[in-house]
Amino acid sequence: MAKYTLTINEKPYTVEAAPDTPLLWVIRDLAGLTGTKYGCGIALCGACTVHLNGQPVRSCMMPVSSVRASQKITTVEGLSEDNSHALQQAWIEEQVPQCGYCQSGMLMSAAALLRAKPSPTDEDIDSALAANLCRCGTYPRVKRAIHRAAENMKK
């Protein structure tokens, strides 16, 4: 066990964990932020997607020991708690989630995409979200919501 200081959603967290503990379980079980989900454990489904310094990463395969206190971790709770982020609003307007379990990861991948490409094409979305799996089949609405958020962010 070792002590780690992490910066999650601009707040410091000090946790004790084995060095190989995936960031996912630190965020969920030690920091208590359960919006980030476990789906596959091998970086295939995208449910565990968070941002590390603004870049989307799969937290289920990232050991906590590889993350420095200076690096900013953003989870879905950090998009906004009051649903004021353009993507969250678009997600509500398009009624995207069904069960909702994969949506945190979808939103985090979409947020990173819009930062890199404020006006993404369908192909950009297909590529950026290629490894975010949804079993309910919300993909058509995810796509519509990303376009809607992109439009709204320009206004």
């Binding site: 879905v76 993507l87 997600w91 509500i92 909702g100 939103l107 799996l133 058509p140 995810v142």
Partner: protein, 726 residues
């Protein structure tokens, strides 16, 4: 999943419990949305009066409606309160929704499956709302010494028409709750609906975009430990020995012991590791050295299963369902031409992104369990049976499911969590890994469907036989011997009721191929496999008769106006009769399941480098009256994508007793980029509601492969298939 019809007796049983649990108070209750497991349970806030079992109103007019149908993404947090609110005359924006917890007072409806929520609750919950409204009106009339006929309800108030006076429901609820519950309240005329039929937003959606929604896996209970289980990799193997002492010494580990995963037909043994954190439990599990006894199960293989099923389908007639007409065999003898085909569909995993999990606490003979489940009633039954305790000793907290598709109505994981918590003597959260979920099943059974048809000299279809061959869900779960018997549940989209093609000599049969592979209903159940065969074969017959597949269907369905209407709308929306460019084609299929008729038209085009791609998918769906059109669209979009998964992506295979696909790299799901544009058209209807969670799935695959045949000349009869290689 049988179609549960509501009887009057059941409604009265539900409604008559009302009035028995009265509590009077005055302080207001805060809004509680499904934010934490504890509020999901519905801790009754002070000051709420139960007007009847599903409605709580405070003196300051805050209204809580109970949803008896667990939420797995199908929209019950909106559709169920909509049914009550419509008749109660309150708007959905002024109510709080809570899930019921399996207590008997909430009745038989506390489960989801069989696309039953709106179908089954349509009358009972409207009556709940209407009865409460009548009680509130009576209470107002009494207070005003007016005639009830002069009073009406609107926007959570009762108004007196002659004087214009009004009282809020909050001001009336204490009086109203002392009145008898009307047994047959008057229901609204559908033309007066203000809520039902509108695409209103689902109340829990905001909590699903900021991490606030609590799913089963997110539950946290004070003092909770985490558990993981290593089940025998060979299905049904027995535990001989394991290195308990060594693993017990690993960091954070509290317990290492044998545990049972009970299933209806068999049990699987495993080793549970209980630790302070889930990662510690997983690490310790990796250090387990276990000796298993696999005697009797080391030969299970899906290849053998399919070979045996094909042999039986070729050699046996099988017992007929009781809806046979004419004489199929005699008609085949006189037929001028016959056509035969055998179709194969794979075993499939439900693979919800949230794997199985449950959190349990056992104290003496009492159990408390937090579980993502399709049925708190089922959890109570299963836990009480396995622990030998009364059902009322099992308190269930119904938590959002992160997907289910049938899986979370099978409570092996819930009972396993309870057994672990009992032995650990502490609250325990059991989480199955993705691999645990994928290799252990239960699965949609792989099926063989064998069809034969015959034409007379004029090219008219005169003979038709469909033999459903494979595992019986009912048979496995109830341990039945189905040799020589039909599975009464297996014929959806095949029997005359659900596939009314007018062919004078028709028989439908079931041939049992038992298996030890655990099987379970998977979204749309047998319809998901039957309809692929049924509707592909209708197409094969049409081509054999040199008829257009739409015209062929329209002719055989002449006596079925709702089917004809669906097909005609589909043709119109897709401009079906337009000539398409070479290499581009449109395929159609129609199927009736869960009391809804759904059709798809799928357009495909040939790729330059080989194979085909899906350009567009258009659905027309007649599900009777609709509560929320946007939910119908969402479910139908999801059904198309789940149908693509089962048709185009690998299935689950067993070799030497072991599932070969362990995670999403070997059992990939369709991705966003593989999803074509999807259109859903709902047929306007005043008929009774049908289901919507499943009926969109069965006709998708046959429509797709009927299009593939037209584009390529290749008839796909064995799934899965890669579209890049057809």
């Amino acid at each position: 999943m049988s179609n549960h019809t509501t009887t009057r007796r059941e409604f009265i049983k539900t409604a008559s419990a009302a009035g028995a649990f009265l509590a009077v108070g005055l302080s207001g209750a805060g809004k509680i949305l499904a934010m934490s497991p504890f509020s999901l349970l519905g801790n009754e806030a002070e000051g709420e009066i139960e007007l009847n079992t599903f409605i709580l109103i405070t003196a300051d007019n805050q209204i809580t409606l109970f949803n008896p149908r667990p939420e797995m993404g199908q929209g019950t947090f909106q559709s169920m309160p909509a049914l009550i609110a419509e008749e109660l005359e309150v708007s959905l924006s002024q109510v709080t929704v809570r899930i019921t917890d399996g207590q008997p007072k909430y009745g038989w409806q506390q489960w989801v499956g069989g696309s039953n929520s709106v179908q089954g609750s349509w009358m009972p919950l409207r009556k709940v709302g209407a009865a409460a409204k009548e009680m509130l009106i009576q209470a107002a009339a009494k207070r005003w010494k007016a005639a009830a006929a002069d009073c009406y309800a609107e926007n959570a108030k009762v108004l007196h028409r002659p004087s214009g006076r009004s009282l809020t429901y909050g001001e009336l609820v204490a009086d109203a709750s002392t009145l008898d519950v009307p047994k047959e309240p008057k229901l609204k005329d559908p033309k007066d609906f203000k809520i039902i039929g509108k695409s209103l937003p689902r109340p829990e959606i905001p909590s699903k975009v900021n991490g606030a929604a609590i799913f089963g896996i997110d539950v946290s209970v004070p003092g909770m430990l985490y558990a993981t289980v290593q089940h025998c990799p060979l299905i049904h193997g027995k535990l001989v020995s394991f290195n308990e002492a060594e693993v017990r010494q690993m960091p954070g580990v509290k317990h290492v012991f044998k545990v049972l995963r009970p299933m209806p037909h068999k049990s699987v043994e495993g080793v549970a590791v209980v630790a302070d954190t889930f990662w510690q439990a997983l690490k310790a599990r990796q250090a387990l050295q276990i000796e298993w006894d696999n005697t009797g199960y080391e030969t299970i293989s899906t290849e053998d299963y399919f070979a045996q099923a094909r042999k039986k389908a070729a050699e046996m007639d099988g017992p007929s369902y009781d809806d046979a007409v004419g004489d199929f065999k005699a008609a085949c003898k006189t037929a001028k031409k016959t056509v035969e085909a055998v179709y194969q569909t794979p075993f499939a995993a439900h693979a919800p992104i949230e794997p199985m999990n449950a959190t349990a606490l056992v104290q003496g003979d009492k159990v408390e369990i937090w579980v993502p489940t399709q049925s708190p009633l089922g959890v109570k039954d299963d836990v009480s049976k396995h622990l030998g305790i009364p059902k009322e000793n099992v308190q269930v907290h119904v938590i959002f499911m992160g997907g289910s598709f049938g899986r979370k109505s099978y409570h092996d994981f819930a009972v396993e969590a309870v057994l672990i918590a009992k032995q650990a003597g502490a609250p325990v959260k059991l989480i199955w890994t993705r691999e645990d979920d994928m290799v252990n099943g239960p699965f949609r059974p792989g099926m063989i469907n064998a069809l034969k048809g015959g034409f007379d000299a004029q090219g008219k279809p005169i003979a038709w036989e469909h033999k459903i061959t494979g595992a019986s869900l009912n048979g496995q779960m109830e341990k039945l011997d189905l040799n020589g018997k039909v599975d009464a549940w297996a014929a959806e989209t095949v029997d005359q009721n659900t596939s009314p093609y007018a062919i004078p000599n028709r028989r439908q049969a079931f041939i049992w191929q038992p298996t030890d592979i655990p099987v379970l209903w998977w979204r749309s159940v047998y319809a998901s496999t039957n309809a692929f065969a049924q509707e592909s074969f209708v197409d094969e017959m049409a081509h054999a008769a040199k008829k257009d597949p739409l015209d062929f269907r329209l002719e055989l369905l002449k006596a079925q106006p709702r089917w004809i209407n669906v097909l005609e709308i589909l043709a119109e929306k897709t401009d079906y009769r337009r000539q398409r460019a070479a290499g581009k084609s449109i395929g159609i299929a129609i199927a009736h399941s869960f009391n809804t008729t759904a059709a798809w038209a799928v357009t495909v085009s040939k790729n330059a480098g080989g194979g085909v791609r899906i350009e567009k998918a258009v659905s027309v769906i007649d599900c009777g009256m609709v509560v929320n059109p946007d939910t119908v669209a969402a479910q139908t979009e999801g059904n198309a994508i789940m149908a693509m998964s089962a048709a185009l992506k690998p299935g689950i295979t067993f070799t030497a007793g072991e599932a070969q696909e362990t995670n999403y790299h070997q059992y990939p799901l369709p991705s966003i980029g593989e999803t074509p544009p999807i259109e859903v058209h709902i047929v306007p209807s005043q008929e009774a509601p049908g289901g919507i969670g499943e009926p969109g799935l069965p006709p998708f695959a046959p429509a797709l492969f009927n299009a593939v045949f037209l584009a390529t000349g290749k008839r796909v009869r064995t799934l899965p298939v890669d579209l890049g290689s057809v």
